[in-house]
Symmetry: C2
Subunit: 79 residues, 2 copies
């Protein structure tokens, strides 16, 4: 069973990396860009058939390692 | 108009970063993990009301800067 995990910076946390990417996009001629924020993405393949148990396990991974919950939010989706 | 862009390594490309994360998850006691692969995520806010034009613009950003199409795939979703 596969899960997609998206980790994004919380709304009020500055994203210098995203700012650089946004500036670079403008420099190469991209217009109408309001903002771009960068995050992380994980594709997790679990040996687990129960979607509820699987999601609980992925949540545990996020809380223990993948996401820093002080500055980041995470979102889990079964794929 | 907002778009979510997910950039992942192509299936046959090695992902050492993901391997390290997977090993670390196992070390902290996570079981049933088959594999984990890391990617990038961007949240793009465009000053554009036409979803088709918006997606074209985001595709251009991916092709020109965000994704390295030799080793990476990208996926665009309106959010």
């Amino acid at each position: 069973m596969k899960f997609a995990v998206t980790i994004t910076l919380k709304k009020d946390v500055l994203d210098p990396q995203g700012k650089v990417v946004g500036q670079t996009l403008k420099n190469i001629g991209i217009k109408n860009l309001n903002s771009i924020r960068q995050g992380k993405f994980f594709e997790i393949d679990l040996d687990e058939n129960d979607p509820v148990l699987g999601e609980t396990k992925v949540k545990e991974m996020c809380e223990k390692l993948l996401a820093n919950q002080i500055i980041e939010d995470f979102q889990i989706k079964k794929i």
